[in-house]
């Protein structure tokens, strides 16, 4: 049988990267050792799928009818993360820019992290497992906090504590409401609607500024709404770029993440956690009108 497993193979030079020295004694024959595993898992999974298919029928609703819009209307589950994003920012950003950038970033991972550190074994760099947990935890909790902010949960919790009663009647005497000077941060839309922006900011005529007509191009007829731009684009973009950067910065300063691979593990784990959290919220916690449910826990009604 095989010789005793050799000591860890020596780190090879960059020139022979990937063409590891072949230790024959460390190798197994594909037939039978791999082919049998594949065969058995194929049989096993066929049985599993048949059992599942016998027990659980797939859904078939009423015939498609363009005149009746179901409420809520939802995309397939693996796109509900994007649909969830859509509720919090400009549709072009959530529906197109974010997924495109995310896919490109995903594909670019190996071109940033070109070391061979941690290769070929599960989470084998010293802090990999810790960083996975931190990334996943921060990603999941951070996403939930942001969703809670946009659903004004902080307002409801404040009023709950201030009144000592959940869902107190706002018309009752002595009702303590969210301070009006903070009304600008009740949720995202409030930043646009409740802050006393000067009137001109809602309507900046870009055509007068850009003067593309002087260059012989058509004049830009576009009015720029700065508060809306802040809420729909500027803040979301900076949140999505800034928070991950901040996380990496903190992990770096704390000494948890030292190499590119460390930062990759941190960021990838964060990304996966955000993705899963958004998918779960979009799938299970968005009811009629895509309102966050169980809404009644903190609702005024």
């Amino acid at each position: 049988m095989a010789a005793t497993p050799q000591a860890q193979a020596q780190p090879s030079s960059a020139a022979v990267r990937g063409r590891q020295r072949r230790a024959r004694e460390e190798e197994l024959l594909v037939w039978p050792d791999l082919v049998f595993i594949e065969f058995i898992s194929a049989v096993l999974f066929t049985i599993l799928i048949v059992i599942l298919a016998v027990m659980v029928d797939s859904v078939l609703l009423d015939r498609a009818n363009a005149a009746i819009t179901p409420n809520p209307s939802k995309a397939p589950w693996y796109f509900l993360n994007l649909q969830e994003l859509l509720l919090h920012m400009h549709p072009a950003l959530a529906g197109v820019v974010v997924p495109t950038v995310a896919l490109i970033a995903l594909g670019a991972i190996p071109y940033f992290d070109t070391s061979n550190e941690g290769q070929g074994e599960w989470l084998s760099t010293p802090n990999a497992w810790l960083l996975t947990k931190i990334g996943a935890g921060v990603g999941a909790v951070g996403t939930m906090l942001l969703i809670f902010f946009d659903a004004s949960k902080h307002v409801q919790i404040y009023e709950w504590i201030a009144n000592g009663e959940l869902n107190a009647n706002p018309d009752s005497p002595g009702f303590v409401a969210w301070p009006s000077w903070l009304s600008g941060i009740e949720n995202m839309a409030a930043i646009r609607d409740n802050i006393a922006w000067p009137e001109w900011m809602f309507n900046v005529p870009l055509g007068d500024v850009l003067r593309t007509d002087l260059l012989g191009f058509p004049r830009v007829e576009l009015d720029w709404n700065i508060p809306a731009f802040l809420v729909e684009q500027f803040i979301p973009v900076n949140t999505m770029i800034g928070l991950p950067l901040l996380l990496s910065f903190v992990a770096h300063r704390a000494g948890w993440a030292k190499t590119k691979r460390d930062h990759m593990v941190l960021q990838f784990s964060g990304f996966i956690a955000v993705y899963i959290t958004l998918t779960i919220v979009g799938t299970f916690f968005r009811g009629e009108g895509l309102v966050l449910i169980p809404y009644t826990i903190f609702a005024h009604e």
Partner: protein, 251 residues
């Protein structure tokens, strides 16, 4: 079993196998003898067009279930299963907005094993999205995207997108309320892109609304366009795994 081992003694079973497997017909199909010696075991893999996707030997750590959790293999297995059940479903399905929904209803009630085929197709489709995502995670956490496997990771990302698109295009075909509105919501996301969004949505849907044109396009993409593309990329993916020296190992 190491390659250096001597052939085993011939047992009763081997004699029986020889009787069955040494006749002219069998030998015309499988040139090597029954794989009970290391030499024949390697030949069995190397001379079979399907098995030769594998190398003849692999490192012992890579057959541990916990290294890959079989996730890439499972994704491929589900793809094959989806192809088979998909072809069977095509026997009974006409992609017309008048007939599609009735065809699915008939499939569920009148066609023997129709409901079973539809269920299997649907659960495997959901399953494949999951296994592909989990496969990507296992590749990431085992650091298997590092050089020289960068490009295969990119091929993987393309396969992920194709898997999602395959599932998305299939979603419309039953032509029920779920299908229509999920695709409407999904394609509207495309439409929201600046400048190119609306033209792209129009091309995808073939009109202003999800209707017959959309069903025709999604059907064509779902049953032939995307599966072909996916098969091409899978071929590259598997070929590259071997070119890159098998699965990643610590350096």
């Amino acid at each position: 079993m190491a390659a250096t081992e001597r052939p085993q003694r011939r047992t009763m079973g081997d004699r029986l196998y020889d009787a069955i497997f040494s006749n002219r017909v069998w030998r015309s199909i499988f040139r090597s003898g029954y794989p009970n010696t290391p030499r024949n075991q390697m030949l069995a893999v190397a001379t079979n067009v399907f098995l030769h996707l594998h190398p003849t030997r692999i490192h012992r750590t890579h057959v541990k279930i916990t290294h890959t959790f079989c996730l890439g293999g499972l994704s491929f297995f589900l793809f094959l299963g989806l192809t088979i059940t998909g072809v069977l479903l095509m026997f009974y399905y006409v992609p017309s907005i008048e007939r599609a929904y009735e065809d699915i209803l008939a499939l569920e009630t009148d066609v023997r094993f129709g409901q079973l085929m539809r269920n299997m197709h649907r659960w495997m489709a959901h399953g494949m999205v999951l296994t592909v995502l989990m496969h990507m995670m296992r590749v990431f956490y085992t650091g298997a995207y590092k050089p020289p496997r960068e490009f295969n990771w990119v091929v993987g990302v393309v396969l992920l997108v194709l898997t999602l698109l395959l599932s998305f295009t299939g979603y419309l075909l039953p032509w029920d309320q779920l299908a229509l509105w999920a695709i409407t919501v999904g394609t509207n996301m495309v439409g929201s892109a600046p400048i190119l969004g609306e033209p792209n949505r129009f091309i995808l849907v073939g009109g202003f609304q999800v209707g017959q044109a959309a069903l025709t396009r999604f059907y064509a993409l779902h049953v032939i366009g995307l599966p072909l593309l996916a098969a091409v990329f899978m071929t590259v993916h598997f070929w590259r795994i071997r070119r890159d020296g098998g699965l990643a190992r610590p350096l």
